[in-house]
């Protein structure tokens, strides 16, 4: 029989919920509404003149090839970050799970990068890969690679993907490791007795059982690639060269803060909000069906 705990007091549940709701309203609903309101306006930098322009800001955005290009850049970037991040950390977690001696040391070391702030991670990688003075650049030049992400867009993209993935691997690793450790040993041992090799065991038993974790990480990683990588990009490429690494969220910041175009920037954040809502809904609707809990 199902046990249900019920509050007898009429006000207590609301009182307990209130702080959370207050935080959500102040830090999410209010700014989001304000952004939506600004997206229909044309304002000067100082807010001295405001006029209602209807959908003009949105029309201008979708007529701009740079904005459409930014969608493509964001898609490529997110797929690379989420894909590589999940694949590499799954590999590491599987390896760490098998290690018997010194496991704690490995695990601790793998978790470290998570403690690094995105901007610091960006600066770190930017230094190593700095054109003309970076240590990696120095080695690459020996192999005849012309490494200069200041001008080569694909190299700039590679740099921010590597920095972002490196930063996120620890987080993914933790979840995968926990997932792996919750898989009953008996299942794997039974399969081993039946003659399944390590690869076969992984793909037919471990991977399906990890699917809830993988799915959760997919959602988190995509959101990470969409928003949290801002620090990495701002500390390294700042959207350049040309607009090759200008993902949507960076453009929102650039247009709103640096270029003082509040209307255009707000319109972009409204669009971004919709994209994330749709993306998350899609993930839960379709991908989750394939997940076995």
């Amino acid at each position: 029989m199902e046990k249900r705990v019920v509050f007898r007091s009429a006000w207590l549940p609301y009182a307990l919920l209130a702080p959370q709701i207050a935080v959500t309203i102040v830090f999410f609903f209010l700014p989001a509404t304000q952004a939506a309101w600004y997206s229909f306006q044309l304002q000067d930098a100082f807010g001295l003149s405001t006029q209602f322009v209807g959908l003009q800001n949105f029309e201008a955005l979708f007529a701009s090839p740079q904005y459409l290009q930014s969608f493509r850049t964001t898609a490529i970037f997110s797929i690379l970050v989420a894909g590589c991040g999940i694949a590499i950390s799954l590999l590491l977690a599987t390896m760490a799970d098998r290690v018997l001696r010194g496991a704690l040391a490995y695990k601790t070391l793998l978790i470290w990068p998570y403690a690094v702030a995105p901007a610091v991670a960006g600066v770190l990688w930017a230094f190593m890969f700095a054109p003309s003075i970076g240590i990696v650049t120095y080695f690459l030049r020996r192999f005849g690679v012309d490494w200069n992400w200041i001008i080569h867009g694909d190299q700039a993209m590679l740099l921010i993907v590597v920095a972002s993935v490196w930063k996120q691997i620890s987080y993914n690793f933790l979840f995968f490791l926990a997932g792996l450790q919750s898989i009953p040993r008996s299942l794997i041992e039974a399969a081993a007795i039946d003659g399944a090799g390590p690869a076969r065991r992984f793909w037919t038993i471990v991977f399906p059982l990890l699917s809830p974790t993988t799915f959760f990480l997919l959602v988190v990683n995509i959101v990470y690639a969409f928003f949290d990588t801002f620090g990495v990009i701002d500390a390294t490429t700042q959207g350049g060269p040309a607009t090759d690494t200008q993902i949507l969220v960076y453009k929102v910041y650039y247009d709103g803060v640096k270029a003082a175009d509040l209307g255009g920037s707000s319109a972009q954040s409204v669009i971004l909000m919709f994209i994330v809502i749709v993306l998350t809904a899609l993930q839960f609707r379709f991908v989750e069906k394939k997940v076995q809990y």
Partner: protein
């Protein structure tokens, strides 16, 4: 005894209250920040009515953004240092700012716009001749050469772009990895380039004549120049370093022997370059009639924000009068490398023999005043040019990377730039 102490204390605090505080937000970090604090200290020591408080608010775009946010919240500073590309945005914000000419007139401080260096003051003056903001730190773009490398290769310092390319090919053939690099690509290769060759950057006197201006940077000469840079990049004669001053380090470290950048880079070069170097005028295309004309400034000016008490503005005016004194200017000029803003200060520095000892210090002024400025070389004033400049640089980068033809890139820069100008015009009209 106690009462007397209390009374004295009260009197003291009363007189402290009588002092009016003037907030000054600026973007001068490091050694330049110390100069700013020195200026404030001197001003505060020289009179008792006002206390100038300089506050470092981050780099130019950051302090401007901070001031805009502060203005929206109703507590803007009295004085705000704004970089030259923000001029049009500030100017259009009527109600948010007070023109300097008005501040000086209201406070009855002696003020003669003609006392200021025309190329500098002209940048911040409207068509009716009213000075809108107070020129503070101005530099220009210069061409630097590493003389050790030149001497070894046996070549003279190039004066024109043709000579630079020829010299570069020679150096490249002798195994030089990097030949030429630049800082501030749009400022050097579009803005200063246009003034230096007396061609317009935009209609309506480079935007100084009104907000309904349009970019004209896709002219045959502009296309030719950017195509030349793209070609140089392809041949390995031009190493692109980035949109701000990243190029400085490539010259200072000895990596690239040719470099175009701000005159203010001299301080760092003097400090850390381990080779003989010279600062020259910018190279030019010798088949262009009238070139070289004169270069235009970069740097920042001080804007007076609106909505303060009249007594505060008196203090601001006093400070500007203080800043205009030849001794103060000469001191600032010789210690920072920025050009003196008044003719008197320039004269005074010349007489002091400073330029004989530091030939690099005068070249900026000589370049800025090479000829009487024309409508094309007085300066520029484009709305939201922070964004506009970025658009130009994005398109230039596409050319340097070999992905776009110069003509197509500059056509797109004009098209995208004009969209920004139209949007600005729409907000500024209301």
């Amino acid at each position: 005894m106690l009462i007397r102490t209390l009374a004295a204390f009260l009197l003291c605090s009363a007189s402290a209250h009588a002092q009016t505080e003037i907030q000054w937000w600026h973007s001068m970090g490091g050694a330049l920040g110390e100069r700013v604090n020195e200026l404030a200290g001197k001003f505060n020591a020289g009179q008792k009515d006002y206390k100038l408080v300089p506050v470092y608010k981050g780099q130019y775009p950051e302090s401007m953004t901070a001031a805009i946010a502060a203005f929206r919240a109703g507590n803007a500073p009295h004085i705000l240092q704004v970089f030259e590309v923000g001029t049009a945005t500030m100017m259009a914000a009527k109600g948010a700012i007070v023109p300097v000419a008005k501040v000086m007139a209201d406070a009855k401080e002696p003020f003669d716009p003609k006392a200021y260096l025309p190329t500098v003051a002209g940048y911040y003056t409207d068509l009716k001749g009213n000075m809108l903001s107070f020129p503070f730190n101005s530099s220009s773009a210069l061409f630097y050469t590493n003389d050790d490398v030149l001497k070894k290769a046996g070549i003279a310092a190039p004066k024109t772009w043709k000579e630079l390319v020829a010299a570069g090919e020679k150096l490249k053939a002798s195994g030089q990895q990097c030949v030429y690099t630049t800082a501030w690509p749009s400022w050097v290769h579009i803005e200063n380039f246009s003034a230096w060759h007396n061609v317009p950057i935009g209609t309506k006197q480079n935007g100084m004549g009104g907000f309904d201006t349009q970019f004209t940077i896709n002219s045959p000469l502009h296309v030719r120049h950017v195509a030349m840079l793209g070609d140089m990049a392809k041949k390995g004669l031009f190493t692109y370093a980035g949109r701000t001053n990243q190029g400085d380090a490539k010259f200072t470290s000895g990596e690239c022997p040719f470099f175009t950048g701000s005159a203010s880079a001299q301080a760092a070069i003097k400090k850390s370059a381990k080779f003989q170097w010279t600062a020259h005028f910018l190279p030019y295309h010798d088949d262009v009639k009238g070139a070289p004309q004169n270069s235009i400034i970069g740097g920042a000016s001080l804007w007076v924000m609106g909505g303060k008490k009249p007594v505060d503005y008196k203090g601001v005016a006093k400070f500007f009068a203080f800043l205009s004194q030849p001794e103060v200017q000469m001191d600032f000029h010789t210690s920072t490398g920025y050009v003196p803003i008044t003719l008197a200060a320039y004269e005074m520095t010349r007489k002091s023999g400073f330029y004989e000892k530091n030939p690099g210090a005068e070249i900026t002024i000589r370049e800025l005043t090479n000829k009487t400025p024309t409508a094309n070389s007085k300066g520029l004033r484009f709305g939201n040019f922070v964004q506009g400049r970025e658009v130009i640089e994005e398109e230039m980068e596409a050319v340097f990377a070999g992905r776009k033809e110069a003509k197509a890139a500059l056509d797109d820069a004009v098209k995208r730039g004009n969209e920004i100008l139209r949007k600005f015009e729409a907000t500024a009209r209301n």
